[in-house]
């Protein structure tokens, strides 16, 4: 391990020793592989990985606000290489931003290594060590989650050491130390804060003799996470306030499962952590979440409740939005997939404080029943709501207003509406060749607390109807279409005008020829914009070829300014106009 120990980094830049280390490890693996012929107990080494290349060209289009960056094109690429041999694995990711495509953090520049690690796992003896970069999550992530969403440029990988010990079957302890990925300048650049964390998890069914086959499954967990960032005291009026350099956060949780039932509760707390997010106040943070679910064949129900109070937790207190989060607090609403429902008003948790709840039901009308039809009909409905916290602000004459800002009165909701999201879907296969799905969404969305638009400040009321059809033209060729419409309410401050950008329609047509070819067209039409000049069609066409794990696509057209979401995360993307070529492959 002396090779790794030489990896002393300066100012957050990766040391070159990594390159030697990984190349050396691979070379060692190759040599080991050759000498291992005939020795059946030597594990076979393997290399796997993937490649992604994204190129965009930009042309000006003043009406949609599409601008041309000085480089005229954007280029993002990365390749992961993963080496595996028995208990040992190592990997690197080489990344290029020459220059980063629009919508990515513009500060990502150049080419280099953005991720590298080596790992040793001895499962029989319960030891697992990782050095370098790693992704991890404690419980539901309320106090720690390092993850990546490559398509959005989101990556807060930890860079340091992780040790996972399993002293007993069902008892796991994790220790980690590291800094977090913040930027990319010809290589990984970490943020200034140091993260130190420990997590324990007990799986009682594995741990307690005789519980292995019990239908009731119980898991207990607890975490402690501390960040260190140098800081100095600051003045507010006549007060001199000290900056906490070490901030601790903790969580406890319990998961219960029993024959179709799921129950989950988690509580998290954090000591005072003045930051840009909370206006440099000293209130402690607190979060609680509870989930209850039940399912059986044909039916699923899920109910959640959540309270988040001042839980922004970053390894750099001066940053906001996507930069250097230590924890993750998911939004209460669903991640929608239809264009208009997903990209205009996507909700994100107000991490400084919200109270929220959701309920969701899935039901399948059985095959052959009167209502279900020959193939059955799938139904789902969900409702999610989030409000402000129930708080009282300190009087401005009170010194506490500077130090703590507010006081929480209860665990319940406050009066300010953040979001309401009701939706319903029904999908049915009518014949062997034809399927259809209808979806309805109703949103009430506060654009002041979740600023997804600059055109309207207040609560947007939106109703969306979607009809999706799929027609199997031949056994291998299929045509899928979506007709979507979004209607907003009237702007009460400007009678006769519509809220935000007004009504929208989207048409999607996609033709696939399995297993290789696909072509699609999407037109987003802002037919209800208050300004007739902005009633624009955003037409975008793409076609591509798939060969097993390799995929090449070429697209051309206008991309609307809006919110681009993958998984549970969204990022604002500016309007653009031009070509796009994308290639992805895994091997």
């Amino acid at each position: 391990m002396s090779l790794w120990a030489s990896n002393r980094r300066v100012a957050g830049r990766p040391a070159r020793a990594w390159v030697f280390a990984v190349a050396g490890a691979i070379a060692w693996g190759v040599a080991g592989g050759h000498t291992a012929f005939g020795q059946t107990d030597t594990p076979v080494p393997s290399i796997t990985g993937n490649v992604s290349i994204l190129w965009q060209s930009y042309a000006e289009h003043t009406l949609i606000g599409a601008q041309v960056p000085p480089s005229k094109t954007g280029y993002n690429a990365f390749a992961n290489l993963l080496y595996n041999q028995g208990n040992f694995s190592a990997g690197v990711r080489y990344e290029s931003y020459l220059n980063a495509v629009l919508g990515f953090p513009g500060r990502f520049k150049g080419s280099g290594i953005g991720y590298r690690f080596a790992r040793y796992q001895d499962r029989d003896r319960g030891v697992d060590v990782t050095v370098g970069n790693f992704y991890d999550q404690f419980g539901s992530g309320l106090v720690l989650r390092a993850y990546e969403e490559r398509n959005l440029g989101i990556d807060n990988a930890l860079d340091g050491f992780r040790l996972v010990l399993t002293p007993l079957q069902g008892a796991e302890v994790k220790f980690l130390y590291g800094k977090q990925r913040f930027d990319f300048q010809d290589g990984l650049v970490n943020g200034p804060g140091v993260i130190r964390a420990v997590n324990g998890e007990l799986d009682l069914n594995q741990l307690v003799a005789g519980w292995a086959d019990r239908p009731l499954k119980l898991t207990l967990g607890g975490s402690f996470v501390s960040k260190f960032q140098p800081g100095s005291s600051f003045n507010v009026d006549s007060l001199v306030l000290g900056m906490p350099q070490n901030v601790g956060a903790w969580s406890y949780r319990l998961n219960v499962l029993r024959k179709g039932w799921i129950g989950q509760v988690e509580y998290a707390g954090k000591i005072n952590d003045p930051s840009a997010d909370n206006g440099f106040t000293y209130r402690n943070g607190e979060a609680a979440l509870a989930t209850l679910g039940y399912s059986q064949k044909g039916l699923g129900v899920l109910v959640t409740a959540k309270m988040v109070d001042n839980m922004s937790f970053r390894s750099d207190r001066d940053l906001r939005l996507f930069d250097l989060p230590v924890n993750y607090i998911p939004a209460v609403t669903q991640q929608h997939t239809y264009n208009l429902a997903a990209t205009l008003y996507p909700y994100a948790t107000v991490i400084t404080g919200e109270t929220s709840a959701s309920a969701e039901v899935f039901y399948t009308l059985p095959k052959g029943s009167k209502l279900g039809g020959k193939y059955g009909t799938k139904l789902s409905a969900s409702f999610a709501a989030a409000n402000s916290l129930d708080t009282t602000r300190y009087a401005s004459s009170d010194v506490n207003s500077v130090i703590y800002g507010y006081e929480r009165t209860s665990w319940g909701p406050g009066s300010e509406l953040f979001v309401r999201d009701f939706n319903f879907t029904a999908s049915r296969k009518f014949t062997k060749e034809f399927k259809a799905k209808y979806a309805f969404f109703h949103f009430e969305f506060n654009t002041l607390t979740t600023p997804v638009t600059t055109d309207y400040k207040g609560i947007v009321d939106a109703n969306i109807h979607v009809l999706e059809t799929q027609w199997k033209v031949t056994p291998k060729q299929s045509l899928r279409t979506e007709l979507q419409g979004l209607w907003v309410g009237e702007d009460k401050d400007h009678p006769g005008e519509l809220q935000d950008k007004g009504h929208w329609a989207t048409v999607v047509a996609e033709y696939t020829w399995s297993p290789h070819w696909f072509a699609s067209v999407i037109d987003q039409y802002n037919f209800g914009n208050n300004d007739p000049a902005k009633r624009i069609h955003y037409l975008y066409g793409s076609a591509g070829y798939i060969q097993g794990p390799h995929r090449l696509s070429v697209g051309y057209g206008k991309r609307r300014e809006g919110i681009f979401c993958v998984g549970g995360v969204c990022r604002a993307v500016p309007a653009s106009n031009g070509f796009e070529v994308a290639f992805t492959s895994s091997f």
Binding site: R16, V19, F20, A23, I26, A27, G33, H34, P45, S46, I47, N50, N80, L82, N84, S111, I113, Y135, Q137, G141, R145, Y147, R150, N205, K217, G260, Q264, G293, S295, G298, L299, G300, L302, T304, Y328, P330, Q334, Q335, H336, T337, E360, F362, Y363, T364, K472, K476, S478, T512, W513, S514, P515, F518, I546, G548, P549, H550, R551, G567, G568, S586
Partner: protein, 166 residues
């Protein structure tokens, strides 16, 4: 990376790539939870006889759900013909991971379901986007994979399964 190191690094990779021992991609062994709360080593799901299919999906991914709903209609026949086992690996994160069991049960999938919220298994297999489907033979080696799903792709998968069942 400095100019000198880059070729060195690539040379090491090329050397690695040219060694015969390195070509087969074997299924990584990762510990994940299933929807009943059991901890499962992925390697233990590989069947000693007959092919095993790992499908990466998420509740927010429409093509993934189309793929797995389409396979669901054919699954019984495929099991009879080829002895296949399908494992559906959800990459839903904390926002939606609790929706997996209610959704899966409501649509009645008969697959083994694994939860990979930290994407450890997906990362180990080089998955970038879902859906991504892998066919693994009885030796635990990935013999076929396909990214994306279009209606009709099940024919190609079916052919691969028949080849392995021979």
């Amino acid at each position: 990376m400095k100019p000198l190191l880059q070729p060195l690094f690539l040379a090491a990779l090329l050397a690695a790539g040219s060694a015969n021992v390195l070509h087969a991609q074997s299924l990584p062994d990762v510990a994940l939870k299933d929807i009943e709360g059991n901890t499962v080593q992925t390697s233990t799901l590989v069947q000693e006889e007959g092919p095993t299919v790992f499908c990466f999906w998420a509740t927010w991914c429409s093509p993934c759900k189309r793929e797995l709903n389409n396979y669901a209609e054919l699954y019984e026949d495929w099991v009879d013909e080829t002895g296949v086992r399908i494992v559906a690996v959800s990459i839903d994160d904390q926002r939606s991971v609790n929706r997996v069991a209610p959704y899966v049960n409501s649509v009645g999938w008969e697959y083994d379901i694994l939860l990979d919220p930290n994407r450890d298994f997906a990362r180990a297999l080089g998955v970038q986007n879902v859906p991504h489907t892998f066919v693994v033979n009885a030796e635990g080696v990935v013999v076929w994979s396909h990214n994306n799903y279009a209606d009709g792709d099940e024919h190609e998968l079916h052919e691969e399964l028949l080849k392995l069942a021979e």
